[in-house]
Symmetry: C2
Subunit: 355 residues, 2 copies
């Protein structure tokens, strides 16, 4: 099933409960707006594109659960609920953005019934667009791979971070769909272990031959010739590297990506970034991007067990910066691009990402 979907039978949101991975792969039904807000807060659903769909469905859910007497009361209550959904994770841009998009339907509709239908239709369209975009990324990216090859990936840029199919892992699924059996080496991705917990789970669900490694072993794997390509997602791509990273721009992605890229470069292993055009930020330089520092507790404890002295200083950055000179291909829904990226080509005529 999709990571997040509208369940027509139960008239509510259904999602893979990612808090139970890797032990259980089960579906959670968010029957109320409160259920959905909690699901976002506890990371039952995560990943920017999946959160966008969660926000969109959240507005539809609010509309369908509301029993106000007048349209004005209805619209006010739905907007209040939608705000709670949008604020469930404040830094997730997609979440707030898609909430706003679906809320626009309230201005168009004239009856509660019409608004309920329109918001749900719009939310479903947003989810479908995400899948279509990922399918396109996958199909373009799959042209870079051959039958029998092994792809290394980092973190989870898979179906479970999106509505379905994924970006980096979508490339693998599309390769399989096109008849190329491609295996995957998944890095554990410390400190939050998205690789071991989430990526391996979804790859096994998709019947992809998968090998889990500690992040420390990616270099040896390339040294030993086990890797034909590294394919990762991106959190943000800037086209101007600024003073620190040069003219070709920078890919910001999960911490550890940069090391894989440096070692891949040494071993002439192609390094591929698969991400939607919406990830491209054409207006910032790399110097302007602040890298989030996360909680020291993520290193001091693992799954509640003590992993370090409780008073040791910890530096726990969430992302790192891979200069575009180390990237061989950037794959978006628009095609495959070889850096240095031509702004007009990669973003289209308007030079701006798709909304």
């Amino acid at each position: 099933m999709r990571t997040i979907v509208w369940d027509d039978d139960r008239d509510c949101v259904a999602m893979v409960d990612q808090t139970l991975l890797p032990a259980e792969y089960t579906t959670y039904h968010a029957e109320t707006v409160a259920d959905l807000v909690e699901s976002i807060e506890v990371l039952r659903v995560r990943g920017a594109p999946a959160l966008g769909a969660a926000g969109a469905y959240g507005v539809a859910l609010a509309a369908r659960r509301n029993d106000a007497a007048s349209y004005d009361e209805f619209a006010t209550a739905v907007r209040d609920d939608a705000e709670r959904v949008a604020e469930a994770r404040p830094t997730a841009v997609n979440l707030a953005r898609e909430v706003e998009v679906v809320l626009d339907e309230l201005d168009e509709a004239e009856t509660i019934a019409a608004a309920r239908d329109a918001t749900l239709e719009r939310a479903k369209a947003i989810a479908d667009e995400d899948v279509a975009r990922n399918r396109a990324i996958g199909e373009h990216g799959a042209t870079l791979l051959e039958d029998g090859q092994t792809v290394m990936t980092h973190c989870n840029a898979g179906a479970l971070a999106t509505v379905d199919w994924g970006t980096a892992l979508g490339v693998v699924y599309s390769a399989h769909e096109a008849g190329s059996s491609v295996d995957v080496i998944a890095n554990e991705t410390r400190p939050l272990n998205q690789g071991s917990r989430i990526t391996t789970t979804e790859l096994l669900e998709h019947d992809v031959e998968t090998t889990l490694i500690p992040d420390n072993a990616s270099g040896l794997c390339m040294q030993e010739g086990r890797v034909d390509a590294v394919v990762v997602g991106a959190d943000r791509i800037v086209l101007d590297g600024g003073e620190a990273f040069g003219e070709q721009g920078v890919v910001f992605n999960k911490i550890g990506t940069y090391k894989h890229a440096v070692v891949a470069d040494r071993h002439d292993v192609p390094f591929v970034v698969a991400a939607p055009t919406s990830t491209i930020d054409p207006d910032s330089t790399a110097d302007e991007v602040e890298i989030e520092r996360r909680d020291p507790a993520e290193l001091r404890e693992i799954y509640g067990s003590q992993n370090a002295p409780t008073d040791v200083d910890v530096y726990n950055p969430a992302f790192d910066a891979t200069p575009m000179e180390l990237v061989d291909y950037v794959v978006t829904e628009r095609g495959v691009f070889e850096p240095p990226l031509d702004r007009a080509a990669v973003l289209g005529d308007e030079g701006q990402p798709t909304p």
Copy 2:
């Protein structure tokens, strides 16, 4: 205190109980040979040089606990006990080697009392030699560092892997002793977390400013200019890289070392290997060295919690291979050497490591 020492008051072996780190830093007394064997088996004491001392003290402990009627009976019983100690961890070369060295004292001695004294004296000398060797490594290595610099290290090549002082961390301690305040960035060192559990603990015990990072962040740290040198230990240094690694030889060390070296090379951060001459294997080529593959459970679970699907394939190599061309300095008790290493210079006139 030393990692492992003879407690004269209690006439037994005393050691830092490393199974309790990082939660507790306490001393365990091995009163009997059985206590010592169990301590080695459960990794209460670990690290090749510390295990060498454990083996040496084990023979003395056997001699002092034995109450045989005749010298022959005594010697036979001590040899039996010594064999149990030597076999407590079969792959630890130092353990068996130092047991043999101390057992030689049984041939020399003529009375039980004399054998008890001679084995203990020899064991103490072996432990002292390890400390002296590490002190020499530290003093040579400290000449490479300046006051106010920050050293990055990997795994635990510290006091707790040796009798005292350590190799890579000994360089830091010697720098401090010489008046240079040097800070340390410690990599977590997945999958066994020696960096977060052991290295940070002993650095804080030595009042060294310490920052723990996930292995994935070492690249960003160098990118951000936080690292003045990388200093690591070595499990084995071969002088002939063979076909895979070229003429300059290879450093085998904890998995992840190679990635740090590749990134350090990119950022012109000096990469230093600190290890005793006994680590140098002049007779093998890198191709002949087999890299130990460890238990998949180390990735599938962390501290007993599930970290991955139970049926996912795992590749869990213990070591990787850093070509000597990425190493700027090799520091031994004989001095500081810049690769390519001159065999005669690094090993001495005989071209063989010290026994």
